[in-house]
C-alpha cells in the first residue's frame, strides 16, 4: 500500500520536474527542476531496495553534476533566451514518443518473453551495499577499473578544455585597461 502511494507520488513529481526541464524557456529554472528531479529519482532507488544506487544518485548527480552545470552556466549569459524557432512540432512529438516506446519494447521483449535466470542472485541476510561491493570487486573489477581510467581522462579533458582560453582572458582585460 505504502509502496503504491510512494511510487505514484514520486512518479508525478519526477514527470512534473522533467516536464519543466524540457518545456521551460529559462535555463536556470530548467537546471533547478533537473536537480529536484534527480533527488526524486533516488526515491525510486530506495523503493527498489537499491540503497547504494540511491545514495550515489544523490551524491553524484545532485552533488557533482548539477554543481558542474551551475558552474558552467556562469560562463554563459543564461538570462538571455536562445531564440528557438521550431517547425514541425507534431512530427517531433509523434516521432519521439513512438521511438521511445519502440526502444523500450525492443529492449524489454526478451526479458518478458523468456524466464531470465539471475546470474548473480541476491543472497539472504546480506545488505545491498555489501552485496554490490562483493560483485563489483570480483566479477566486475575490470570494468570498474576501466571506468576509473575513463573518469580520469574525462577530468583531464575537462580541465584542459576550459583552461586553455582562461589564461588569455586576464591578459586581455589588462591590455584593455592599459589602453584606456
Amino acid at each position: 500500500m505504502f509502496e503504491a502511494i510512494a511510487f505514484y507520488t514520486f512518479s508525478i513529481l519526477v514527470i512534473g520536474m522533467f516536464g519543466i526541464v524540457v518545456f521551460s524557456k529559462n535555463a536556470l529554472y530548467a537546471m533547478s527542476a533537473l536537480a529536484g528531479g534527480m533527488i526524486f529519482i533516488s526515491g525510486f532507488f530506495f523503493l527498489l531496495d537499491a540503497d547504494f544506487l540511491g545514495v550515489v544518485q544523490i551524491v553524484v548527480y545532485t552533488g557533482a553534476v548539477m554543481a558542474l552545470y551551475a558552474f558552467g552556466m556562469m560562463f554563459f549569459d543564461s538570462t538571455r533566451d536562445v531564440k528557438e524557432n521550431i517547425k514541425f512540432k507534431k512530427i517531433i512529438y509523434t516521432l519521439s514518443v513512438l521511438s521511445a516506446i519502440f526502444t523500450i519494447f525492443i529492449l524489454m521483449a526478451p526479458i518478458f518473453s523468456t524466464k531470465i535466470e539471475a546470474i548473480y542472485p541476491t543472497l539472504q541476510g546480506v545488505g545491498n551495499v555489501q552485496m554490490i561491493g562483493l560483485i563489483l570487486f570480483t566479477k566486475y573489477l575490470v570494468p570498474f577499473e576501466v571506468a576509473a581510467i575513463m573518469l580520469l581522462a574525462a577530468m583531464i579533458a575537462g580541465i584542459i578544455l576550459v583552461k586553455v582560453k582562461m589564461e588569455e582572458t586576464p591578459t586581455n582585460i589588462e591590455v584593455a585597461r592599459g589602453e584606456k
Binding site: F18, V21, A64, G72, V97
Partner: protein, 100 residues
C-alpha cells in the same frame, strides 16, 4: 501492488520526455539536460528489472551509467564553454558551419 510493468511504463514516459527535449530544444545546455533525463530513465529501468528478477547486474550497470554520465558532463561542458567563447552563442544552429 506495484509490478515491473509500472516501472517500465514510467521509464517509457521519462524516455519519451528526454527524446522530446533532445529533438525540440535548440539551446545546447538544454540538450545536455535532456541527455541526463534519458540516462536517468534507463537507470530506473535497470534498477526495477534488477529488483524483480533478483539479480544485481542491473544495479551494477546503473552504477556504470552514472559514472559515464559524470564524465560526459565534464567533457561536454568543457567543449560547450570553448564553443561559447569562440562563437558567443549556445544555439544549436550555430554549429552547422557548412550550412547543410
Amino acid at each position: 501492488m506495484i509490478t515491473l510493468t509500472h516501472y517500465l511504463t514510467l521509464t517509457g514516459i521519462l524516455f519519451s520526455l528526454g527524446i522530446v527535449g533532445v529533438l525540440r530544444r535548440k539551446n545546447l545546455l538544454m540538450l545536455f539536460f535532456s541527455t541526463e533525463i534519458l540516462l536517468n530513465a534507463v537507470n530506473i529501468g535497470f534498477a526495477a528489472v534488477s529488483k524483480y528478477y533478483g539479480d544485481l547486474s542491473g544495479q551494477i550497470f546503473s552504477f556504470f551509467i552514472i559514472a559515464i554520465a559524470a564524465s560526459e558532463v565534464a567533457v561536454g561542458l568543457g567543449l560547450l564553454v570553448l564553443w561559447y567563447k569562440r562563437s558567443g552563442t549556445i544555439d544549436l544552429d550555430s554549429l552547422q558551419m557548412m550550412k547543410g
